[in-house]
């Protein structure tokens, strides 16, 4: 699956799409594939603050639970309610199944994230180990 060029990525396998000062966040195809069948996403409420590099929630597959790490800091403006009833959409369409939208408090943090090409090189290295 291709990694969209207009997204930015974390080394913890989240993606973020930027629209002005709003970021939309989800997990990558590599992430959903490592997790396996996803059954539950525990997301923050609207109004919560998230901090770059810190956990903002969790995603659970049958096998395991994994933390979700915020690519940027900011305030949650929306959480994807559809994932409550259809968490498997994260598996079938990881790059469209967004989890939260965030009003960025420090857009400069985006400079520390990976481009699609950098992220692909990063996971190629992880897979080789």
């Amino acid at each position: 699956m291709a990694y969209p060029n207009h997204y930015r990525y974390t080394r913890e396998h989240e993606w973020i799409a930027i629209d002005g000062t709003t970021g939309t966040i989800g997990i990558t195809d590599y992430a959903q594939n490592s997790l396996g069948d996803i059954v539950f996403a525990d997301l923050p409420k609207v109004g919560a603050t998230v901090t770059a590099g810190q956990s903002f929630g969790s995603v659970e597959s049958v096998k395991a639970v994994s933390d979700l790490y915020a690519p940027v800091s900011g305030t949650v403006t929306a959480a994807n309610e559809e994932l409550n009833s259809s968490p498997e959409k994260i598996n079938s369409a990881p790059h469209e199944s967004w989890m939260i939208r965030v009003q960025l408090s420090n857009p400069a943090e985006l400079n520390g994230l990976l481009t699609a090409a950098q992220y692909e090189a990063f996971i190629a290295e992880e897979t080789a180990h």
Binding site: E12, H13, A31, E60, S61, V62
Partner: protein, 376 residues
């Protein structure tokens, strides 16, 4: 999210190349690089409940006890009564410490009056073998590790019999549950065909020669024969959720060297009326002292949240009272379930408890075991 890669220097089964070709996800299990899932854990789990699944369980150990006193040795090592076995019959049993706790849980197959095959867990095989060698000195019997001699395939599910029957002249319907026979499978003679399994379904475990060519051919022929029935290759992920729904213990989780037979609720496989076996005295003392203080129970999560291995169990006041030994979403039951040790006073079916999930108590209730029982 964070992911981890499997470690190096793991053992591989004769089917390893096929797992790779199927693009299975591989994990370290008991020192073996094993497939954890192929097409997806839920689909594999459901295939076994509704049709059939094929598992490579060649990592399991096979230890043979042979000689005029083989039965005496088996009786000394094992908590179940192997003297009750007929030739061609198998039983669930366990190797215990002197304290009545678990060294391993095993299947004992009576091959002939002086010949027993013990199927043991992968991670404990070397320990079991060394221990049996040492404990068997006073018996006239050989203890041999035949693990490298067999590949073990499990064909499990309501269609397992129909699928395997296309590959063997042996009348599989005539093999009763927990019995076995020897026969030709895919043209290979002397395959041990046992009606046993670890999924809560009907099915067979077959022990075939471990050379790659034969093991791979039999695996492939079972898959081909199973295609029309919806058989899927299944990994250890589905094996774990299937056995958990059926409430079958997993060594290192429900049972280990710190849990005894009564706590684990496995006393029906432990024959205290046998003249002698390792662990018997300690178990009788434990029984006479009033029985276990904690018990393995089934929990069903009553709120959103999944109790997982190692999570704390809380009582109604929020006090920690025990630990989850295995916990997972149950794909067929579509509930979140767990096995856990709790004090006997809080082990009755219907007791309201909680599991601490990421610092939050999530309501759970003690439910009857097994969680899942197949319709006969």
């Amino acid at each position: 999210m964070s992911a981890s890669a499997p470690a190096a220097a793991l053992r591989k089964t004769p089917l390893y190349a096929l797992h790779r070709a199927l693009r299975a996800k591989m994990v370290d299990f008991g020192g073996w690089e094993m497939p954890v899932e192929y097409s997806g854990l839920i689909a594999e789990h459901m295939a076994v409940r509704t049709s059939a699944g094929l598992f490579d369980v060649s990592h399991m150990g096979e230890i043979q006890l042979r000689g005029p006193e083989a039965l005496d040795a088996v009786q000394h090592f094992c908590m179940n009564d192997a003297s009750k076995l007929a030739e061609g019959q198998a039983q669930y049993s366990a190797l215990l410490t002197e304290q009545g706790t678990f060294l391993d849980d095993i299947l004992v197959h009576k091959l002939s009056p002086n010949d027993y095959l013990l199927v043991v867990n992968a991670g404990t095989c070397a320990k079991d073998f060394a221990w049996m060698r040492q404990q068997s000195q006073r018996f006239h019997c050989h203890v041999s590790d035949y693990s490298a001699y067999y590949s073990q395939l499990a064909i499990q599910g309501p269609q397992a019999l129909a699928i395997l029957q296309t590959l063997t002249p042996v009348d599989l319907a005539a093999i009763k549950n927990y019995w076995f026979t020897w026969g030709t499978v895919c043209g290979v003679a002397n395959v041990l065909i046992a009606r046993t399994g670890y999924t809560g379904e009907d099915g067979f475990e077959i022990y075939v020669p471990a050379d790659e060519a034969i093991s791979q051919r039999i695996w492939s022929e079972v898959r081909e024969a199973g295609n029309a029935f919806g058989l899927l290759p299944c990994g250890l992920g589905a094996r774990n959720t299937l056995r958990l729904e059926a409430a079958m213990p997993l060594y290192g989780h429900e049972i280990d060297e710190h849990t005894n037979v009564f706590e684990a609720g496995l006393e029906r496989f432990c024959k205290l009326d046998k003249p002698e076996f390792l662990g018997k005295q300690a178990l009788i003392a434990a029984r006479d002292a009033g029985g276990p203080r904690r018990k393995l129970v089934g929990l069903e999560m009553m709120e959103r949240g999944i109790g997982r291995d190692g999570y704390r169990v809380l009582d109604a006041t929020g006090q920690p009272i025990g630990l989850v030994t295995s916990g997972s979403p149950a794909p067929f039951l579509q509930k979140n379930i767990a096995l856990a040790y709790v004090p006997v006073e809080q082990s009755a079916v219907g007791t309201h408890l909680a599991v601490e999930v990421r610092q939050q108590p999530v309501a759970a209730q003690v439910v009857p075991l097994p969680f899942y029982r197949r319709k006969k």
